[in-house]
């Protein structure tokens, strides 16, 4: 069974099979195209159409017969290939030209497979590049240039001609223009066109046979479908924009991180959370690989969202292909594996915690006054407002510096003492102990003056081992202490005498337990006596 089309050829009416019609049309289009001279070409074409009409008339045994593809083929074999119509003097040059132009492609807009203006599709043909990737590139460019590229797209739309005729379509894909290719092309387009025709006819018949009420519901249905489609497109657009921006920033971020030298020295951006993963990495996986894995781990899901958004936005979007899908999944799983391994390794660094305690006698007795004053190496750039700092030396030793914590506590002993607690974690108890021992800190005791370094330092990996130093100063009851103002920077919470009002003045150490039982808990436990002794 074949659908027929009615045509008017040189004023004569013909029934012609649909496929035959498409072939004949392609043939005439190609011939029309081969005549560059408009006026003359028009006339020649009229003659040709008249002759074809005549040939058809001769072939028709009786009125009701329909022209099929065989009749069209016969007529074409009688009339000749498009190149047979070339009779110019510069015949050879023409041939040469036809040959080269068939070989070289021309840039057209492919409106048949394209979505908007067929520009991406056209470029795809021109560069032999998958359309889907070009579309993604175009959209990323459009977002990256904050819309400027859309203007370029519009200009391209104006500048690049549309591939209308079969010959132009062949030129677009770079196939030589001859009848066999035209036929192939027509057959390709046939499905497309006939589908559309079917739809049209279907609608038409439906219109004829449905009454007005069902028509109404159909219209409502159509309206709903249209609204849903529109909402879908909006959602698609939103997804594409959001995920596109995310993709862009992820990729830029990755590039930035990669070129920043962070892999060689993770301390460079120690204050940013994401670099945590690169620090203390003693696995076989290089930091660059971890960085790529981290990026892919985030990029792939975002890309999928981006793709789904595109799919919502563009109905006949080409698939990215099975291979691409499987590759993406595999890459993501590998990234996940790498990240898990690195992160688990990283977490293991804190599995054990050790503390090294050293105690020194502080020759302060009852009624003596101890002055506590911090110092620190200002040349290191450390400011007391920060709690830690990484000094990163390319090719050299990295230094991690951190403010120590100071506690001032009362003791019932007759003489004071200084307790240094170095804390660190590690993969094993032994490692943790080693890490704690690496903490460097000093203080100096000159008679009644305690000068302590406010900053501890530790080499190597920084605080992934959770290094801490607590300096505990125990003073006998009824002794006095003068805390320099800067001491406030090192105050450490709980169970000690340090509070806001205790700095820059001499205070008396009293038994805490006794005081708390007599006074309100919040009341200051320290009695202030006399003026500064310094």
């Amino acid at each position: 069974m074949n659908k027929t089309v009615n045509i008017n050829l040189a004023g004569i009416f013909f029934h012609i099979d649909e496929d035959a019609y498409l072939k004949l049309k392609a043939y005439l289009d190609t011939i029309r195209n081969s005549f560059k001279n408009g006026q003359e070409g028009q006339e020649i074409l009229q003659d040709i159409e008249a002759r074809i009409a005549e040939l058809f008339t001769q072939k028709m045994a009786h009125e009701k017969q329909v022209i099929g593809i065989n009749e069209v083929n016969e007529v074409i074999s009688i009339m000749g290939q498009p190149e047979d119509y070339q009779v110019d003097e510069d015949f050879f040059e023409d041939k040469e030209q036809a040959y080269t132009s068939a070989k070289s492609k021309k840039l057209y807009r492919d409106t048949l497979t394209g979505n908007i203006a067929g520009i991406c599709a056209g470029f795809g043909h021109y560069f032999d590049f998958s359309v889907i990737w070009l579309r993604i590139i175009f959209i990323i460019l459009a977002i990256a240039t904050s819309g400027t590229f859309i203007l370029i797209y519009l200009i391209l739309w104006l500048v690049i001609p549309e591939a209308k005729t079969t010959a132009e379509k062949l030129e677009m894909t770079g196939e030589p223009i001859n009848i066999s290719n035209i036929e192939k092309k027509v057959k390709e387009g046939f499905q497309h066109v006939s589908d559309r025709m079917k739809d049209v006819d279907y609608e038409k018949y439906k219109d004829q046979f449905t009454n007005s009420s069902t028509n109404f519901f159909r219209n409502v249905g159509n309206g709903l479908v249209a609204i849903l489609t529109f909402l879908g497109k909006c959602l698609g657009f939103f997804l594409v924009v959001v995920s596109g921006l995310t993709l862009l920033s992820l990729i830029l971020g990755f590039l930035f991180v990669s070129f920043s030298g962070i892999y060689e020295n993770p301390f460079l951006f120690r204050n940013y959370g994401f670099t945590e993963i690169f620090i203390g990495n003693d696995t076989i996986i290089p930091n660059l690989v971890t960085g790529i894995a981290l990026t892919l781990f985030m990029v792939i899901p975002v890309f999928i969202i981006f793709y789904l958004g595109l799919k919502l936005l563009i109905t006949n979007l080409n698939s990215i292909g099975k291979t691409a899908k499987i590759t993406l999944l595999a890459l993501w799983l590998v990234s996940l594996g790498i990240l898990s391994y690195v992160v688990m390794n990283r977490v293991a660094h804190n599995a054990y915690e050790e503390e090294i305690v050293s105690t020194e006698v502080l020759p302060i007795m009852t009624n003596d006054t101890l002055t506590i004053k911090p110092y620190y190496d200002k040349s290191s750039g450390f400011s007391l407002n920060e709690s830690y700092r990484y000094t990163y030396k390319k090719g050299g030793e990295n230094v991690f510096q951190k403010k120590i914590r100071l506690k001032v506590l009362p003791t019932h002993d007759s003489i004071g003492k200084i307790v240094t607690r170095k804390k660190a974690s590690g993969k094993s108890s032994l490692k943790a102990q080693e890490n704690a021992e690496e903490i460097d800190h000093e203080y100096a005791l000159n008679g009644n003056l305690l000068n302590f370094n406010g900053i501890m330092s530790s080499p190597g990996k920084g605080d992934i081992y959770e290094e801490n130093l607590i300096l505990e100063v125990y003073l006998p009851i009824n002794s006095y202490v003068y805390l320099h103002e800067d001491t406030s920077y090192f105050a450490y919470c709980c169970n000690n005498l340090l509070s806001d009002s205790t700095y820059g003045e001499v205070i008396k150490i009293e038994d805490k337990a006794k005081v708390t039982s007599e006074k309100n808990k919040d009341t200051l436990l320290i009695e202030i006596e006399g003026d500064s002794i310094l």
């Binding site: 003659d47 008249a50 002759r51 005549e54 009339m79 000749g80 498009p82």
Partner: protein, 114 residues
Amino acid sequence: MKIENTKAQMRKGVLEYCILSVLRENEAYVAEILDALKEAKLIVVEGTIYPLLTRLKNASLLSYRWEESTSGPPRKYYGLTETGKQFLEELTMTWQELQEAVNIVTQSKTNNHE
């Protein structure tokens, strides 16, 4: 250079002369001209003739009139104009000269070979 091209070029060169010759005695429409040319195996496909006819007409060597047809669309009956007739005369002379010239050259060549 392809042999097909040369052959086609030769054929197309004399085609105009032949079309005019067909129309020397009486008017004819395309199918009749085609029949004559096909009979002489001067053309294989019909397509070639249409651009030629249009060009000859545009050069005022041919004119045509419409005539209704009982089987098919109206036909264009082509005939020679006065210029066409003169043109044909000149071409006939040139052709005869050419024929002789070609004969002499080709025969002398074959003689040389022998």
